[in-house]
Symmetry: C2
Subunit: 333 residues, 2 copies
C-alpha cells in the first residue's frame, strides 16, 4: 500500500498526528505497517529494559537501555535497507561482543558523541531518515518493579515474567521521573494515541507510569486506541481476556482511556495453538460482552499472520488504524 | 580548494586514476586532501594489523583486521559527517567493549551480513558515499614478520616496532597470498601510483609483499610517487634518511619503482623536535644528493602542519600530487 497524503491533507491541511506508545517486537511490527500510511508518527518508547544487550549497556555504560528504541528506529528507517539491517545485526562471537546488537552499540556511541541519549537518538534518526519521531519515555533508565499477587516484589523488567506469578501491579523507580517535554507536547497535539500490541506489564504500562505522560494522555482529546495482543504471555497475562488487559491498564492509570479496542477474531490454526501451548501461551479470549459493557468500541478482524511466530498483520492493522483516525479527525473537524 | 573536473576531463575524457597504497594514519591524512582533487581514487589498504581493536577482532571473529580500512573509509566518506564520526568512535567503557572502535565493529558486522570482507567493505562504502574505491590488499588477514639485524625474527605487525631493533627485512605469512583481482586491475589501469606517508615496514611494504601486487606495480606505466615521512619512527626507521626509505622499498620489491619523491623541507620548530625526541623520533634527513643520484626526481616543499602532532599538510601535498599526475597524463597523451 502506498501513502495517499492527499486524502488526509484535504481534511486537516496536514497529516493526522498519531502517537504510538509501547516497546518490544509488537510495537516494531505495527510501525512497519503504520509508516506506509499518510500519518505523522511519534513513537514513545519504554526505557525499562534490563535484560540482554540493553541490560549490559545500561549497567556498564550508565545509559538508558537502547534496545526498544533500536527496534523502532529500524522499523521506521527509510534509508538504505542495509543501514536497518546493520542496526538489527547481533554479534554471535567475540568476548564481550557476543549477544550485543550492533544497533545498541551505535546508539551507545551516539549518546556519547552527542552528549545525551535523546540527542543521540535524534541525530541517528536523521542519518537513518526515520519516518517520524522516536522519543524515549524518559531521558534516563527506569527500574520496573512488580508487586505479585502473593505480596512479593520482583525487581527488573526481565525478571518479572520469569517470576512466573500473577502480577498485581507494576511501579517504577524513580517514581517521579520526568517525561521529555517533546513527548508531552506530542501527546497534547495528537489526533490519535495508540497502545499495543506488546507486553502489557513490561512494554506498555511502564510508559503510563511516567506521571506527566499518563496525565497528558488522559487529558488529550485524541482518539485512543488499544491493539490487544493475540496470545497471552506467560508470567504476564496468563489466562487474560481482552477485558482483563483493559482493566489492568485502567487500574494503573486510574481512568478508562481507550475509545477503541482492536482485536483479532481470525482463526488460529491448531498446530499454532499447540506450539504456543508448549510455552504456556494461549489465545487471548475475546470477551466481547465484557469489553463493550465497559464502554469500549471494538474492531474485530482477522489480524494474524503466521510465520515462525504469530505476528500481527501490520498492513491490515494499520489500515484499520488509519481509517479510525481519519474518521475521528473528520468528525472532530 | 574545490574540485576542478573540467581541467582534467579535457585531457583524458575522464578523471585521472590514482591508486594509493598503504595504511595507518598517514594514508588517511593524505586521502582527506586527495579526495578534494578531481581524481578517481582507489586505495589499497594493508591487512597485516594485529594490535588493538583490529587485533582482537582478527583473532576472535576470524576476519581480516578492519582498522586501516576503517580509517580510509572515514577519510573518503562523503556522507553525513556524523557517519564518519560514528565510524571513528572508540568505546572507553564496557567489559569487552572498551578500546573497540565502533567502525571496526560495523565492518565486522558487514562482513558477516555480506558473507565476506571485501563485499562488506563495498556495501559499507556505498552507504558512506565513499569517494573512490577501498580495497584490502588481500581478502584475508596477513601475518607480518620481521627479520632483525641480529638474525632474530619478530612475529606480528604490532610487535615489530616494539622489538626496538633494526629491521633487516619483513616478510608475510602466507607468502603466496592472492591480491584482489580488482586491486591488480586498478594498478594496471592507473595513471598514478602513490605510496606513503606511513609506517615504512608495517603499513607500506606489507602491501608490496603480496606477490602479484608488486608485479603489477613494477609493470605499470603509471607515474609512481613516494611521499616520504617527515619524522623517523622508533623501532622502524630510526636514523633513516629519505634515501634509506627508498632503498628499503627497493630491497623488498627487487627494483627501484618510483619516479618522484615528495619530501618536506620546511622548518620544524625546536619545541616539536624536543617533543618527538622524547619518543625517540627525529626529522628524516633529506639527503637530496643520495636521492637524486639514485635517479629519483624530488619535490621539496614545506609540507608539515603542527597541531598535537606533526601532520602532512594534506591540501598542499595533494596539490603537488595532482600537478604531477596531470603533467604526467599530458606528457603520456
Amino acid at each position: 500500500m502506498s501513502p495517499k497524503p492527499s486524502a488526509s491533507l484535504n481534511i486537516l491541511g496536514r497529516l493526522p498526528r498519531i502517537v504510538v506508545i509501547g516497546g518490544g517486537t509488537g510495537l516494531s511490527v505495527m510501525l512497519r505497517g503504520l509508516k506506509q500510511q499518510p500519518l505523522d508518527i511519534t513513537a514513545i518508547v519504554t526505557v525499562a529494559d534490563d535484560g540482554g544487550s540493553s541490560g549490559i549497556l545500561r549497567e556498564e555504560l550508565q545509559m538508558p537501555p537502547p534496545g526498544d528504541i533500536r527496534s523502532v528506529l529500524a522499523a521506521l528507517a527509510d534509508a538504505e535497507p542495509l543501514l536497518a539491517e546493520m542496526l538489527s545485526y547481533r554479534f554471535n562471537n567475540g568476548k564481550g561482543l557476543a549477544g550485543h546488537s550492533l544497533g545498541n552499540l551505535i546508539i551507545a556511541a551516539m549518546t556519547d558523541i552527542s552528549g545525551d541519549f535523546v540527542t543521540g537518538i535524534r541525530e541517528l534518526s536523521r542519518v537513518l531518515a526515520v519516518r517520524g519521531r522516536v522519543l524515549p519515555a524518559a531521558n534516563q533508565a527506569i527500574v520496573l518493579k512488580a508487586e505479585m499477587s502473593d505480596g512479593s516484589v520482583v525487581v527488573g523488567e526481565s525478571s518479572i515474567p520469569k517470576a512466573g506469578g500473577a502480577i498485581k501491579r507494576v511501579f517504577i523507580e524513580p517514581p517521579d521521573v520526568d517525561p521529555l517535554p517533546e513527548a508531552v507536547g506530542a501527546i497534547e497535539q495528537a489526533d490519535a494515541i495508540l497502545m499495543g500490541p506488546g507486553s502489557l506489564y513490561t512494554s506498555i504500562i511502564p510508559n503510563l507510569l511516567v506521571p506527566k505522560l499518563a496525565e497528558a494522555i488522559v487529558n488529550s482529546d485524541a482518539i485512543k486506541i488499544f491493539v490487544c495482543n493475540v496470545m497471552t504471555q506467560p508470567g504476564e497475562t496468563d489466562d487474560y481476556s481482552v477485558s482483563n488487559h483493559l482493566d489492568a491498564i485502567q487500574a494503573h492509570i486510574g481512568h478508562p482511556i481507550f475509545d477503541y479496542v482492536i482485536v483479532n477474531d481470525g482463526e488460529i490454526p491448531e498446530q499454532v495453538h499447540s506450539m504456543y501451548a508448549e510455552k504456556g501461551s494461549k489465545a487471548v479470549l475475546v470477551d466481547m460482552d465484557e469489553v463493550t459493557r465497559r464502554g469500549y468500541k471494538v474492531i474485530a478482524d482477522t489480524l494474524v499472520l503466521f510465520r515462525t511466530y504469530l505476528r500481527h498483520d501490520a498492513s491490515k492493522l494499520s489500515q484499520h488504524i488509519y481509517q479510525l483516525v481519519t474518521d475521528w479527525v473528520q468528525r472532530k473537524g
